[in-house]
């Protein structure tokens, strides 16, 4: 009977999307609507003493401005969204995020205040009027440093920066290790990045005082939980809050995070002011205000038998959870569980510590920690294959769970609180298919050696993974046949581009015998359907799809029963199709669905007691546990050893997501996922300096792969239906993104075989790869450096030789008139004892708003020998602060000055100026030093022209 499910039906929603008619949150325009802008922390860690909004409130066009204290009782820490699963002895310490910062600032980008104005332009102008009194504290950024006993504490109520600790074991790794033929141990770094959805977040809230009703348009992946939570916060019945998640331009996880400060503050402000308020996140905000996924450090070990069988795996890892942990432990538990992949690991010990840092909050991003685990396991197997002299594919094959061994119990707890039991799978055919598609044997035998003889470095990679998808708890759907014969489907999950309007319509259309375009789908409007959780964890098609199936099947039964009753026949003699329900042996006898809908809803007369009116049914589906999809990715790369450039020559994916509802949509999901994965592997990295400043908060420096950087992807499929839902389907939303980092590492390493380069980190930029190649030796691995260790944004160090005595140079260096004349852009400089105050204007090129108030305090002075300067410069573009040290010593003919400065840069100059900081600081110090020398010469001291800054 199935006709539509499984077909590449073109998407119902595309006509609206492609012609620009689909409504997104920013398309909501309401009469009298105001615009909000948020003032955000420039400091990663600071004590917040006061926020002065008075000048902002006076600016023409500003309607209101609020900081934490203005919210009154409404201000409250947010809830714990995902409680930790029942793992024995698990430690979890909840540090809830807050709507607007109070008392402390814990990451750059944390909202401090909001301005509501007639336009976004005016609102942003007014942000510059706000005076924040904050005392910077040392920031905690690196994971291991955060756990040091003397590390600054991010949450004072906790005795350390440990957010959680969990240990899961099966069997005994110690015993496995004792009898192992070979044990391999490595440290791995895996970092991820921003979701970078094409649409940033946005909220529009409108309060209808006459109806006492709040309507909120929100880019959320979870409209129903948002409605429930906001109703409670606003003190309204749930029926009086309507949340609409219209078309959303990409979710990828961070939009499942709930009760973002803006989501909480905007509805409150709309009610307080009595006018609709819109806030649209801009890209700069998105880089720190929206949650992201970041790094883990794994110390992992694998114990092997001589034939390559895995005897056990031991893994201890650190996980960065950011400044708060409202989303619980989904990400590290996914890492812990997904590491096991398609392999039998009889003895497993995995222990993680989640760590608070002064960085944006970490929540799942497409893949949700699975990448990290897959990377560790696949790299260990690659090393094992090399050390044991077994082919890379063969060692995987030997360790696969066999088709007869399902359901397969790994005997640990998954993120859905259920035991990690794989429902079904058949891994060998996927590996064989991928190997055949990419031509593995021929490549290794012929192409690679031939290329090598021509001086070209080609490499191949093949990796396998399993993805837990389609987890509970449940979703629902309501199917209604209207008197017109049109079918209406409502479900609670929102849609962010997954094609729900089509795949759900296919499911329903099959049951009711109509065309897929005759099913009108409504998603993400709490007024239309008000039970459910949301779109995440590759569960939409599995869980909501199954609910759609159940509701449509119930309507089908109703229609058949009604027809049988009207025709006086048994239901088994009635058929459905072509929009009609009819007698099977005489199709002319029957009714259209529309006629039945009318007959099922009589307006006069009696009905049988117990009758439910209409052709309508609401059903819910909750799986026993998640279904496990799997796949194999393979790629061929070419590496230019001189430039460390990597070119992807071919990319193959063989995927098994059970029954495919719509193969075209499945392919689209995989293509998008692979693009995500390639970005993660080679282009994207959120670069925080040691002060917690994000140094690449724009698409100029945060590198998303474009259409030009993603190769054509060759696809193959294996279908192993899931027994856990009636459709037999498994999730596919994240699959493409999961194994790409592991694949990249293997393929690049293979291309560089013989050089000793071993890749234990992702992402792998060409600059980093160049370092690995340059530092590699023919034998032995290169120790992995933390790929995110970057120190301060601005470091200066050098020496300069002056003609003249140390005493003369010393006096000159501390003379405010001289300093004012030599420091570029100095507009004013006054001295008051050891303290200097002034104004600098360091406009360079297009930068014309670079006026800074400067404060310098001189300390540690030994006249003629040394001094230190504590520098604070603050302006509209941010701040520069830190300490510079100067030492003077006679070098015979004159004086050698040694200087060093470590400066923290914050604000816009840090977020988007990184490309220029080095050049600017070099140019400015060179200019100043040359001017100093001229000044010294002018004072009569003979100068040797040896001055050189380095």
């Amino acid at each position: 009977m199935t006709r539509l499910v499984g077909q590449p039906v073109k998407r119902n929603e595309d006509a609206r999307l492609l012609t620009g008619r689909a409504q997104f949150v920013d398309d909501v325009h309401l009469p009298g609507m105001l615009h909000a802008a948020f003032l955000r922390s420039e400091h990663a860690h600071a004590r917040l003493r006061a926020v002065d909004l008075s000048r902002a409130r006076q600016r023409p066009g500003v309607i209101a401005a609020f900081a934490a204290d203005d919210l009154g009782d409404y201000w409250a820490p947010g809830p714990l969204l995902v409680p930790p699963p029942p793992i024995p002895d698990l430690v979890f310490r909840h540090a809830p995020q807050v709507p607007l910062a109070r008392g402390k600032l814990r990451y750059v980008g944390e909202p401090i205040a909001v301005v509501i104005a007639e336009s976004r332009y005016v609102a942003e102008d007014a942000l510059a009027d706000i005076i924040v009194d904050a005392e910077p504290l040392p920031a905690v950024v690196q994971l291991e440093a955060a756990l040091a006993p003397d590390a600054p504490r991010i949450h004072e109520q906790l005795d350390s920066n440990v957010a959680a600790h969990a240990l899961q074991t099966t069997g005994s790794y110690a015993k496995a290790r004792a009898k192992a033929h070979r044990v391999i141990k490595r440290r791995f770094h895996y970092d991820r990045g921003a979701s970078a959805a094409i649409e940033n977040r946005g909220v529009v809230a409108a309060w209808d005082a006459s109806a006492e009703e709040m309507t909120i348009w929100d880019t959320t992946q979870a409209p129903i939980p948002i409605r429930n939570g906001l109703a409670a916060m606003l003190g309204l019945p749930e029926s009086q809050v309507r949340v609409i998640a219209p078309f959303v331009g990409g979710g990828f996880g961070p939009k499942i995070m709930m009760f973002y400060p803006e989501e909480v503050v905007i509805p409150w402000a709309a009610r307080a002011i009595g006018r609709p308020v819109k806030w649209i996140e801009d890209r700069r905000e998105n880089f720190t205000a929206t949650t992201q996924e970041r790094s883990q450090i794994h110390d992992a070990e694998i114990a092997l038998a001589k034939d390559g069988r895995i005897l056990g795996v031991h893994d201890v890892f650190l996980h960065d959870t950011g400044a708060y942990d409202p989303y619980g432990l989904t990400v590290p538990i996914n890492s812990q569980c997904t590491l096991l992949g398609p392999y039998k690991v009889p003895n497993y010990s995995s222990e993680f510590t989640a760590v608070f840092t002064n960085t944006p909050i970490v929540t799942p991003v497409r893949g949700a920690g699975r990448q990290h685990g897959v990377f560790v396991m696949e790299r260990l197997l690659d090393l094992a294959a090399r050390e044991l002299g077994i082919d890379r594919l063969e060692i995987r094959r030997r360790n696969f769970i066999r088709p007869g061994e399902f359901p397969y119990d790994h005997k640990i707890i998954f993120q859905d609180f259920k035991p990690l039991v794989y429902d079904s799978g058949n891994y060998e055919p996927a590996l064989a298919k991928a190997s055949a598609l990419i031509g593995y044997d021929r490549f290794v035998r012929e192409e690679q050696p031939r290329a090598r003889s021509e001086g070209r470095q080609l490499g191949i990679g093949v990796v396998a993974y399993v993805e837990g998808t389609g987890i509970g708890p449940y979703e629902g759907a309501r199917v209604t046949v209207e008197p017109s014969g049109r079918v209406r489907l409502a479900t609670g999950v929102g849609t962010q581009g997954q094609g729900h309007f089509t795949s759900f319509a296919q499911i329903v259309a099959d049951q009711l015998g109509v065309g897929p375009d005759e099913v009108h789908v409504v998603t993400g409007d709490t007024r239309t359907f008000s039970w459910g959780t949301g779109t995440f964890a590759s569960r939409g098609a599995v869980v909501a799809g199954s609910a759609c199936h159940a509701a449509a099947a119930a309507v089908r039964e109703k229609a058949i029963a009604k027809t049988a009753e009207l025709l006086g026949v048994k239901p088994k003699h009635v058929s459905i199709g072509g929009g009609r329900v009819y007698l099977e042996r005489d199709p002319s006898k029957g009714f259209t669905l529309g006629e039945l809908a009318q007959k099922a809803n009589p307006l006069r007369g009696g009905v049988t007691p117990g009758t439910e009116p209409g052709l309508e049914a609401t059903k819910y589906f909750g799986p026993e546990r998640g279904s496990t999809a799997n796949g194999v990715h393979a790629m061929i790369v070419e590496v230019d050893r001189e430039t460390a450039q990597v070119e992807i020559k071919r990319y193959v994916v063989v995927h098994d997501c059970g029954t495919q509802l719509n193969p075209m949509i499945v392919e689209g999901q995989i293509h998008g996922g692979v693009a995500f994965g390639i970005g993660n592997a080679f282009y994207e990295q959120l670069v925080f300096d040691d002060g917690g400043q994000l140094l690449n908060a724009s698409f100029m420096d945060y590198l998303l792969p474009t259409a030009l950087d993603v190769p054509a992807i060759e696809l193959g499929h294996v279908e192993t239906p899931s027994p856990l839902n009636p459709l037999g389907t498994k999730g596919v939303g994240e699959a493409g993104a999961i194994p790409t980092g592991a694949l990249f590492a293997q393929a690049v390493e293979n291309a560089l075989a013989g050089t000793g380069v071993e890749i234990t980190e992702i992402p792998l930029s060409p600059s980093r790869l160049f370092t690995l190649i340059a530092d590699s030796r023919r034998v032995g691995p290169v120790p992995a450096a933390a790929p995110s260790a970057r120190g301060r944004a601005l470091c200066l160090e050098g020496t300069y030789d002056f003609g003249g005595s140390p005493g003369d140079v010393y006096a000159l260096l501390l003379d405010p008139r001289v300093l004012a004349s030599v420091m570029p852009g100095t507009k004013r400089l006054d001295r008051n004892g050891d303290r200097y105050d002034g104004v600098l204007d360091v406009g360079i090129g297009p930068v014309s708003a670079a006026e800074f108030a400067l404060e310098v305090v001189v300390a540690d002075q030994i006249v003629g020998e040394q001094y230190a300067m504590r520098i604070e410069a603050r302006g509209k573009l941010g701040f520069v602060s830190g300490t510079a040290r100067v030492r003077l010593a006679s070098n015979g003919a004159g004086t050698r000055m040694s200087y060093s400065a470590e400066l923290q840069v914050g604000g816009t100059i840090a977020a988007v100026g990184q490309r220029m900081l080095d050049s600017v600081s070099k140019a400015m110090s060179a200019q100043a030093l040359k001017a100093l020398e001229r000044s010294l010469r002018a004072r009569g001291a003979a100068s040797t022209p040896t001055g050189a800054a380095s």
Partner: protein, 289 residues
């Protein structure tokens, strides 16, 4: 990411633009805007006024000069340069560099003069201008002057243009026979700012020895630079080892800036490799043509 308030002036001609700039000393000229507009949206740039040059029709166009070279109006779009037959025939190096300038959408908007006057150290066009010994025509209300490309770029985003002065055209000299050129760069993604780039332009004499060699490097200093090391090739046969040592010498003269995408060591390596490859390719093309 909304710009601060500014006043917008639209110039109808070059004279009108010069008058507006004289009248509003705080104004910034707006060409295609691919750099200025984002800087304004980040509020890094907060000019009191803009003088929009886009309606000044007399500033764009590509023509042949009497001396055999070509002249390109400052407001000529990158896309027009990329598609120009004159540029293809008389300045193939410029043509070869164009696809590296950001993406087609940006090349439709960005202008040749805007790129030169903005003087981004990693931009392609300024480097090409150095390699081709271009001359820039600048105009103010006081008159017109010509500036050699090698005297034009004075520092980070800094040029020899005076306040009130506009770059109005680029003049590229005639191309000698037996010339060949090549442009190579390494960028993180297609269309990104170069991590390093090399533009080479070589002319051979009748014996096949090198008569003139220019090697410009981008994104390895605070401005685009001409590598003096290339002068050592003049008078020599274009042998592999000569080119190799020039590339090494060019590398050794560098103190490149570091950023999150490339440290100084990697930039030096890229400069050497690209210099070697670009010179080799330019010589090959010169020999063939």
């Amino acid at each position: 990411m909304k710009p601060a308030t500014f006043i917008y002036h639209r110039a109808s001609s070059l004279d009108d633009a010069l008058a507006l700039l004289a009248e509003h000393p705080d104004a910034k000229p707006l060409a295609g805007g691919p750099s200025l507009i984002p800087a304004m949206n980040f509020r890094l740039s907060q000019p009191a006024a803009l003088v929009d040059l886009n309606a000044a029709g007399d500033l764009s166009g590509i023509s042949q000069s009497p001396g055999g070279g070509i002249r390109i109006g400052a407001m000529t779009r990158h896309a027009a340069v990329e598609r120009s037959d004159l540029v293809r025939d008389f300045a193939p190096l410029l043509r070869e560099a164009m696809p590296h300038v950001a993406h087609p959408q940006i090349r439709n908007r960005g202008t040749i003069g805007g790129s030169i006057a903005h003087a981004d150290p990693s931009a392609e066009v300024p480097g090409v201008m150095l390699a081709l010994d271009a001359t820039f025509v600048a105009r103010s209300r006081g008159g017109e002057r010509r500036i050699a490309a090698r005297d034009f770029f004075t520092g980070l985003f800094a040029t020899a243009l005076e306040p009130g002065e506009l770059l109005v055209a680029v003049e590229l000299p005639a191309r000698a026979p037996r010339s060949g050129s090549a442009f190579l760069e390494v960028a993180r993604r297609h269309g990104d700012f170069a991590l390093a780039g090399a533009a080479a332009d070589v002319t051979l004499d009748a014996r096949g020895h090198i008569a003139r060699a220019r090697l410009a490097l981008i994104s390895v200093a605070d401005r685009p630079i001409l590598a003096a090391a290339a002068d050592a090739l003049v008078g020599r046969e274009p042998a592999e080892d000569a080119i190799r040592s020039v590339a090494e010498a060019a590398r050794d003269a560098l103190d490149p800036p570091a950023d999150i995408h490339a440290d100084a060591r990697y930039r030096r390596q890229l400069a050497e490799v690209l210099a070697r490859r670009a010179l080799t390719q330019a010589v090959r093309r010169a020999s063939a043509g």
